[in-house]
Amino acid sequence: MIKLHKWKLLFIAIATNFTILLTLALGDPKLWGDIDWFDIVGEGGVSLLAAMWLVFILNSRPAGSVTNFLCLGLGFIFIGTFQDLLDEIIALPDESFFRGALESLLMPFGLIVLTFGLYHWHKEQLVFLEQRRRREQETREYRWQDQLTDLGDARFLKLQLSQQIRQCRANHQPLALILLDLDRFNSTNRTFGHSEGDRLLRELSELLILNLRRCDLLCRYAGDRFAIVLPNTPELMANELAQQLIRAVASFAYKTNNGDTVYHNASVGVAADNPDREESITEIATVRLMAAKDQKKLGSAA
């Protein structure tokens, strides 16, 4: 990422250099004994941290106006604090404009630009949040994200499920969970190769998301099994939504890299939250999913 921003970094480096030269031109290096090491550590630390922020932010953002504002703001702050540090090593004449003035100009200006950048970052985040709503709802945990499908994994599901159950119970609302599993996914893997299987799962997760409501949450349970948390949803309605998902999966014509079309069927297990039952909602849904699978096997054997 940081390669995208090499011009900005170069600009900041040149500006920093310029400050060093200017300060050297105007002032004289202090004597060893006159240097206040406590100030050096304090101000040097601030300057170093500002530089680190700059690198982290540039390294995690694509180019664009928001990045430019953040970079400019942090750049000013860095130069301001750096000048302050130089001030400790090089004695400037008292009447010089650079003594303190540069810092007191650059710092507030940098902070204002940074604030402006942060405001737009916030606006930008709202746009992405809406796009990712059905993947993360109100919680984000990058460590608990599945690398393949970009959905939350089983740990994320557990966390979300316990939060949502608590919330729904407090509001006396029903909550339902759907577990959805592909039939014969292993044979697809064997026939077309595992990279096709991986891509199928990625595309399937997009497909499932398109069929969900704004308040629903899709997670990857494990392997080819997905979990969908449905807050404020009675079991009947959850069954209907599950049937919609089954129909969507059944008519999904996945294209392999060779152009073959592969169709899949899905099995589901639906469970509603019930505080009186001893088993967890996930256990009930798993049992129902396995029963649905067995039913299909018996049906195909007969």
Binding site: N186, D198, Y221, D294
Partner: protein, 343 residues
């Protein structure tokens, strides 16, 4: 030639077991230099198809993979991809087997090639056929990872070959660390805290027919395998030691007796054990623990008999040792309920 395989002998063809690790890492866009770092493997040699790795290099490869891809689904993904892979003559006897029982026998026969790092042992009782897993060459920290991988691989292979999926039970040593993966990959009959690593299948299902059955091909493939691998000892060091202890156990066993049996000096044996990350006492305990659990759950021997067979003075000593091995008392070990027969 030694009767067993040691950790720095060239033994594992790189295009077989290690290939699946490399392939998965590649499909996840992992940096190959990082994956091969410290293994001493060069990409050109790997592609030549003639590279034979040391078990040590395989373990380093696994260490690197686990660091680069920390996801908890990795062993299962590897397992699903492992067979038939590029195993050639050593997977064919399994592939062409005519029924489940033959497929399992052939798998156990060819395991030196099919499962180089873990040793698989077959045993039967009146109701079930058991497959037991243990470390083969070194007492590696990756055992759990390799176990998940290997169990998934053998399930995936045999379920694919059999016309009707066998109903496997999975008996695992410790608590389940990520239940969801077990549910999806192994189904519902997974039993945690069993202190052994095994899979079992009802003997009534052993005659299940296989899809690729071909009697002649199976015989030919078996002979080809035996010809190709006859120069190699079938067992790794740790598995070999365990086997010696197991066969010798009716008599008292010490490090010195064992060394004499192996025709090496006690000092050499000690050094070799250390080189493979284990000690005589660990091996002796591990075999005795396995047997004790076997006798408790499957043969239901009395404590007196077990104590005598394992060379403990009395039941109290057995209890204490058992507690040390498993963290629990022998009385808490119960036989597993048989699988529910589907109507």
């Amino acid at each position: 030639m030694l009767a067993w395989i040691e950790r720095e002998e060239r033994y594992v063809p790189a295009h077989q077991f290690p290939a699946v690790i490399i392939e998965l890492a590649q499909s996840r866009n992992t940096d190959m230099d990082k994956l091969l770092r410290g293994t001493g493997v060069f990409w050109e040699d790997y592609l030549s198809g003639e590279l034979i790795l040391k078990p040590d290099q395989c373990l380093q490869l696994i260490t690197n993979l686990r660091r680069l891809l920390p996801g908890n689904d990795i062993p299962y993904l590897l397992g699903h991809r492992l067979y038939p892979g590029n195993f050639g003559a050593s997977i064919n006897p399994v592939w062409f087997a005519s029924h489940l029982s033959e497929a399992i026998d052939h798998f156990v026969l060819c395991q030196a090639s099919l499962s180089p790092l873990l040793h698989i042992r077959k045993s039967v009782d009146p109701d079930y056929l058991y497959l037991h897993w243990q470390n083969n060459i070194t007492d590696t920290e990756h055992f759990h990872f390799l176990l998940q991988l290997s169990m998934t691989a053998i399930t995936s292979l045999l379920n694919h070959l059999c016309e009707a999926e066998p109903s496997w039970d999975y008996l695992l040593p410790g608590p389940l660390d990520n239940e969801e993966q077990y549910q999806v990959n192994f189904g519902s009959r997974v039993f945690a805290n069993q202190h052994i690593a095994a899979m079992r299948v009802p003997r009534s299902q052993l005659s299940t027919a296989c899809r690729q059955a071909n009697v002649n091909n199976a015989v030919i493939a078996r002979n080809q395998f035996l010809a190709a691998w006859s120069q190699q000892p079938p067992l790794g060091f740790v598995a070999y030691i365990d086997q010696c202890i197991r066969t010798h156990l009716p008599h008292q066993l010490t490090l010195e007796v064992l060394a004499e049996q192996l025709c090496i000096s006690p000092a050499t044996l000690k050094r070799k054990l250390k080189k493979h990350d284990t000690r005589f006492q660990d091996r002796y305990d591990s075999v005795r623990k396995e047997l004790a659990i076997d006798w408790l759950t499957r043969q239901q021997l009395t404590y007196d008999e077990i104590a005598e067979r394992l060379h403990f003075h009395d039941i109290r000593n057995l209890r204490r040792a058992f507690k040390r091995w498993t963290g629990t008392l022998p009385s808490s070990i119960k036989p597993l309920s048989p699988a529910k027969t589907t109507p």
